[in-house]
Symmetry: C2
Subunit: 314 residues, 2 copies
Amino acid sequence: MNTRITQLFGIKYPIIQGGMIWCSGWELASAVSNAGGLGLIGSGSMYPDILEEQIKKCKAATDKPFGVNVPLLFPDRKEVFDLLIREKISIVFTSAGNPATWTSYQKEHGITVVHVVASVKSALKCQDSGVDAIVAEGFEAGGHNGKEETTTLTLIPLIRKAVSLPLIAAGGIATGRGMLAAFVLGAEGVQIGTRFVVSEESSAHPEFKRKIIESGDGDTFLAMKKVVPVRLLKNKFLDAVRLMEDQGASAEELKGLLGKGRAKKGMFEGEMEEGELEIGQASALINGIKPAGKIIEEIIHEFNEAKKELNEIR
Amino acid sequence: MNTRITQLFGIKYPIIQGGMIWCSGWELASAVSNAGGLGLIGSGSMYPDILEEQIKKCKAATDKPFGVNVPLLFPDRKEVFDLLIREKISIVFTSAGNPATWTSYQKEHGITVVHVVASVKSALKCQDSGVDAIVAEGFEAGGHNGKEETTTLTLIPLIRKAVSLPLIAAGGIATGRGMLAAFVLGAEGVQIGTRFVVSEESSAHPEFKRKIIESGDGDTFLAMKKVVPVRLLKNKFLDAVRLMEDQGASAEELKGLLGKGRAKKGMFEGEMEEGELEIGQASALINGIKPAGKIIEEIIHEFNEAKKELNEIR
């Protein structure tokens, strides 16, 4: 395939594997890159020494391009960016923050910068900040999410119209049909998270993968809106959050309930009821654990088949 | 065009104009039907005598098929269905209720019944109840909405897989590209609400139309979840609802704030700050008031152009 996204990264297919906490280390990122997509190491759950180790292992496992996702809401970002520069990482996806803060520093060091947005306003800010491409992520996406609650179906054409940057769609996309729908709306690539959480190479706990496969529609919910909106899989912890929210709990009270280490507990250590399980609505579309390379193959096959079928609509 | 939806209703284009309170009387419904789509009279805001008058006027204005939308959450449904039977209405869209309650009564009188759902569970119930086709409506839709918050992008493929009934996609669709994306996901027709609210023939107040045209992404919000979830355009009233909800207000307190006649006040009488303004996220995509026939023409043109463009993706 040939779009501005394949050209920008020098990859075969315009499929980005979302950088996700506790799920996307070097094994997943290198598998995706080796299969022709763009793998991202999710640095959000890694201390700098772990991240350095993950980058070195990823380099050893693939000679294809890969990148690192850096959530901007955590502290010590300078340390992380300097590590990426030292390791000669050439592709960085930033999220959960203002693109104006770190883009020029990265550009000075020759990094291709992609920023994740959930609104037209943020997309315009990306353009002003010199970002190279945008991920536009809808309400259905897993993990941290925008306050506007705009869905992928509405967001992609709005951002397509507002900015001229290469555009990657995210949120609710797990299949070739989803990818083709995103292209119809104006995207030139897709970022897929949830489906890769359930890949063989993902470091998500096997119990978490199993729970995703069993889930259906309505089994995720966007909660914690007074803190940072986050889409979670339903369990005892989410029930407790929703009950508190229904009763008007403050941001401080919700932070207290969340405590520390809860995402690790759920997604990495397999505590299915007390852990925080970040996942997208696309979890309802997923039926089995497969190698990342096979997932990419299936998505591209379905994308091409669905494109052919459209020609039969009269 | 030729899909199971055009065949079911005997229409030229598989575009349904959603039956909406205070916006879709005989003028809009007949204009849509005359242009080759399926117009629906929105009975939710009409007493039986008004509905009867609207039906008679619609019959006089078009010899094409049209239908009536009946929200099941209101009282006196028997009176309404008996009126529709007397008036020989052959297409009814039911919504906001259980399809098992009224489908067989309508089928006994030869009515083609379509039911609006927001979950796989409700779609399966439709199949069991003998419904003829389904509208699957995502989180981004205006007005009443499902508790599951599943977006159109995720919902359509899930329902396509779960049931074999003819499938109409709704929520976030306002353009030919949106329609094509829905078809990629497995829909055979689309129901469009928001864009027709801003048609010349819509009975929405001109101030409401103006406010929709001015709106951008993030300007609607799904509120009143403890009562019945409803997507509204931001104004003073919605701000007040959200403040109460943030503070943990009960369903009773929210109903008290809502009071009576607030939707009429906003959508029909043009009180932009104190009225309830039901509209979908697609409002951000709409830039002008046009005749309904022109809207359909533009959607079909864009659908065909976008289909052609896809063949250029390599």
